[in-house]
């Protein structure tokens, strides 16, 4: 067991964990933060994407011990009270989700993009989301939502 201290969505947790514990299982099973789901075991689907010290990361491909001393933001930490993050708003307004399983990862990946590139083109959005799979939407509305969240005009 290894002792770790991780700040998740603003709360600091100290825990003893097995070194092999995946960060996503730490979030889900130990902290009960089930907003971040798991969709694969090869880091292809991106459903588990979180923000780790200011950069997007796939929490299924990070050990909890690697996050020791780090700050994690999950989809559950984006809203400020009743005020949603613009991406959360835009995903709803643009019908960018159906079953919603990929949505936390999509939003976290898109948030990372907009931090680096506040006004991306549609093509840049698609490339930024290449590591996040969605099986419901065909991506078109997701792209629209990200563009809308960036404050750009979007054809409906």
């Amino acid at each position: 067991m290894t002792r770790i201290s991780v700040t998740v969505d603003g709360t600091t947790y100290e825990d003893e964990v097995e070194p092999r514990l995946l960060l996503v299982h730490y979030l889900r099973d130990r902290l009960g933060l089930t907003g971040t789901p798991v969709g694969c075991d090869t880091s292809n689907c991106g459903a588990c994407t979180v923000d780790l010290d200011g950069e997007s990361a796939k929490s299924c491909s990070v050990l909890a011990v690697q996050a020791d001393g780090s700050e994690v933001t999950t989809v559950q930490g984006l809203a400020r009270g009743d005020a949603w993050h613009p991406l959360q708003q835009a995903f709803r307004e643009r019908h960018a989700l159906q079953c919603g399983y990929c949505t936390p990862g999509m939003i976290m990946a898109a948030r990372d993009l907009l931090r680096e590139n506040p006004a991306p083109t549609a093509d840049e959005v698609r490339h930024a989301l290449e590591g996040n799979l969605c099986r419901c939407t065909g991506y078109q509305n997701i792209v629209r939502a990200v563009l809308a969240a960036s404050g750009q005009e979007v054809a409906s």
């Binding site: 907003g35 789901p37 090869t42 307004e93 919603g100 399983y101 698609r126 290449e130 799979l133």
Partner: protein, 786 residues
């Protein structure tokens, strides 16, 4: 009848579902945690086919955190065979299907033992301690070879790998019609195996109450109601003691229309141990253990006159059942049987499907289930026929499709197409696509020998959906009906609960059903809540698959609401001391004709009927109502999809340049949701055409067993879609809706492949097998030029 004021139906309402989903406040089955929860892990066969000589689970019991471990034999008592509810013929071969194999494993991934441990990590570790001795048996992988006299058998006790033969011959005698034909084309098409790949892996949680013998099962299922019935039969747990809950479910596409061994197993283990248990599959496990889709060889023959009039169609199908028959495995190709003639008129149709067992993961419904295969075959061969006759593919279709004025039209396969306008959808699509300009560019590229060719693919599809008429399903030997139930509770405070038997997993039923109810009842959209996916809260239902939810379940909501208004009208008339016929009803308000100040709202009536102090003579308290809808016909969405593909003839890569779809899904409740369904459906159709395939090696091992190898397209790999609609209302339900869940997938695959072949036809290419990988396209060009 009521005069519903339609403020909601047809409106692009944002979804009620989304607030939880975008903020992470979800209820996925794997989220469930509770004190004492045990975790199951399943040891699976590493071989396609083997005798199980010995299973020793005792070393696993020594591992830390392990509570129990079972081999198949340990569980056989009290756990029956997994069900197949669609024995399509009287003499179908129905093998036994134990949830955990006992004597023999028949596909790579077949369960052989189960471990129960305190957490998922301990359970995963303990699997490695289990000892199994196998004697390898020959795999059965090739559909044609499997039918040979001396072929090794998947189920030796059955004496054959032939599961069933299902024939359908309609119209004139095909052989005679063929004699009249000027042109007869024969083609073989291959529907590769697909892994449905819903983003949420499967999971199940069972909570037992040993003292009362009650069980609550949460599952990632599309079919909580059917599942409850079937699991009661498999486990012997009385149906009334079993509650099934489908919480948030992360996509299904048919893969969660199933009664899975793991669900039965979780119940059996929870019963045995008296403890709650959870099982969650990993993605790579799911690639083996969640049913696959498609998997067919289609021999198609079409007979036509020189002028391009279709005379007849003959289809011989070999359908890969996989190792066992699951819930509707044998019925999937039969759902397609009626759709091979598509939108076309002809004189004879001859269809035979042979179901074949192989040592691979069982197949079952995958988005479209039978109908994508049918549409692919007819739309592909129509393009080949057009090329043969030197006709534009659109023109050939025009000469043969059913005209608007011919509806309702008795199709050659025996269905009654109720409505449609194929010309209108096609004309609209051609205009949006810029068909003539693209044809001109195609010609130019050809003339200058451009290594990047342009191809145009056409798909003018229809499908039968909204499964539906119980009588017809009975004729097809399907084990259940096709009705759907809804009930509406008018709460005393004026709010409304709609209880539906459908079980959404991304389709937005909560939103659309709210719109339907709000319109009929005249209440605000926000005042409607929709209850679903829990057999205790929504006890009656037939669940969600086959593009049936709106057409049958949404229609049931509509009809239940109409009944509520009918009851409310009686109460209103009584309270307003007026004749029922003298009441107007609009916007939730009953008023007396001619004296509008004499009015009452439906909410006031709900309260009055709740307190029930002054009800009309003979009327029961409350104005709640329920309705069970059983439409007399399927519904038949149709449309025209056009795809332009650029094919790099040097590398073989195909890139979709533009994609236009004009769909007629009847009347639309929520255009936002409809558009989303079309996008996602088309994406999956393109996935089959270009990217996806469950690949097996010669020993029967699944090679594409992770999302690194099974290529689900990403945002970069798909184009923007141009969508539009035409609207001819369905006549089989009061909404006029036709269903939209599967149409995109059905339409898209042939549109893409037709485009690729169209691009390469000048080079001598007449077909490319799916998925049309760059290598296959390159090889097709090489072979054509050799």
């Amino acid at each position: 009848m009521t005069e519903a004021t339609e403020r909601e139906v047809g409106r692009a309402r944002l979804r009620k579902e989304d607030a939880r989903l975008v903020t992470g406040q979800t209820t996925w089955t794997d989220n469930i945690q509770m004190t004492g929860l045990l975790h199951l892990a399943i040891l699976r066969s590493p071989m396609a086919h083997a005798r199980v000589d010995r299973v020793d689970v005792s070393p696993a019991l020594e591992r830390p955190g392990v509570v129990a471990a079972f081999a198949g034999r340990d569980l056989a008592d009290g756990l029956g065979s997994l069900p197949c509810a669609w024995p399509v013929t009287e003499d179908i071969v129905m093998p036994d299907h134990p949830p955990v194999a006992v004597d023999e494993v028949r596909y790579a991934g077949d369960p052989v033992a189960v471990v129960v441990a305190r957490d998922r990590y301990a359970a995963a570790d303990a699997l490695e301690a289990i000892e199994v001795d196998y004697t390898p048996l020959p795999p059965v992988l090739d559909l044609e070879a499997a039918l040979a006299e001396d072929a090794p058998l998947v189920h030796a006790d059955k004496g054959t790998n032939r599961c069933y033969v299902w024939p359908l011959a309609t119209g004139e005698d095909y052989a005679r019609v063929k004699e009249r034909a000027d042109v007869v084309l024969t083609r073989r098409y291959r529907q590769q195996r697909l892994i449905p790949s819903a983003m949420e892996p499967r999971a199940v949680v069972v909570t037992p109450l040993p003292a009362s013998g009650e069980y609550t099962l949460h599952s990632t299922t599309q079919i909580p109601h059917i599942l409850r019935i079937m699991l009661a039969m498999v486990t012997g747990i009385p149906e009334h003691k079993l509650r099934v809950i489908a919480p948030d479910v992360g996509g299904g596409f048919g893969s969660k229309l199933q009664v899975y061994g793991e669900e039965a197993l979780a119940l059996a283990v929870a019963r045995r141990l008296g403890r709650p248990v959870k099982w969650t599959e990993s993605r790579s496990e799911g690639c083996l253990a969640t049913h696959h889709g498609r998997g067919m060889i289609q021999d198609v023959e079409i007979a036509a006159t020189r002028e391009g009039r279709l005379l007849g169609l003959k289809v011989d199908l070999l359908a890969d059942m996989g190792a066992y028959l699951m819930l509707v495995t044998p019925g999937v190709p039969i759902l397609g049987a009626f759709m091979y003639p598509g939108i076309y008129k002809m004189d004879a149709y001859d269809f035979t499907c042979t179901g074949v067992f192989t040592t691979r993961t069982p197949t079952d419904a995958y988005r479209g289930a039978g109908r994508p295969e049918a549409t692919f075959a007819i739309e592909r061969i129509m393009d080949e026929l057009a090329a043969e006759l030197g006709l534009d593919p659109i023109e050939l279709r025009r000469r043969n499709w059913i005209r608007r004025e011919e509806f309702p039209y008795p199709s050659i396969a025996g269905l009654t197409y109720d409505s449609g306008d194929y010309a209108a959808a096609t004309d609209k699509a051609l205009a949006l696509f810029g068909y003539d300009d693209l044809r001109a560019e195609q010609q130019k590229r050809h003339e200058r020998g451009d290594p990047v060719r342009l191809g145009i693919g056409v798909s003018t599809y229809t499908e039968m959906c909204g499964l539906a008429p119980s009588r017809v399903l009975g004729d097809l030997r399907y084990g259940a009906g096709g009705w759907e139930a809804a009930s509406i509770r008018m709460l005393p405070t004026g709010k409304v609960e709609v209880v539906t038997g459908t079980s959404p997993h991304g389709q937005g039923h909560v939103t659309s059903w709210s719109q339907i109810a709000a319109d009929v009842l005249g209440v605000p959209f926000e005042d409607v809540e929709v209850v679903h996916g829990d057999t205790k809260a929504a006890p009656q239902g037939m669940d969600t698959y086959g593009s049936r939810s709106l057409v049958v379940g949404g229609a049931a909501v509509h009809q239940a609401a109409v009944k509520v208004v009918g009851k409310a009208r009686k109460v209103a008339a009584h309270l307003l001391e007026a004749d029922e016929d003298d009441l107007d009803f609009a916007g939730g308000v009953f008023s007396v004709k001619g004296s509008p100040e004499a009015r009452t709202t439906i909410q006031e009536i709900a309260f009055a009927a709740f307190s029930s102090h002054d009800m009309p003579e003979g009327m029961e308290p409350t104005i709640n109502a329920e309705h069970v809808m059983d439409p007399e016909n399927f519904s038949y969405p149709h449309g025209t999809h056009l795809c332009a593909v650029e094919v790099d003839t040097e590398t073989g890569r195909s890139t979709i340049r533009s994609y236009v779809c004009v769909d007629d899904v009847g009347r639309v409740v929520n255009p936002l949701i409809v558009e989303g369904q079309v996008h996602g459906g088309v994406a999956q159709g393109i996935g089959q055409a270009l990217y996806e395939e469950a690949v097996y090696d010669d020993e029967g091992n699944l090679v594409s067993g992770t999302l690194a190898d099974y290529l689900v397209p990403s945002a970069v790999d798909l184009p923007d879609f141009v969508t539009d609609r035409t609207e001819t209302p369905a006549t089989s339900n009061p909404l006029g809706a036709k269903g939209v869940g599967e149409s995109g997938t059905i339409a898209a695959t042939p549109a893409v492949v037709n485009a690729i072949v169209d691009a390469l036809r000048p080079l001598g290419v007449t077909d490319v097998a799916m998925p049309c990988t760059p290598q296959r396209v390159w090889q097709a060009i090489e072979e054509a030029s050799a």
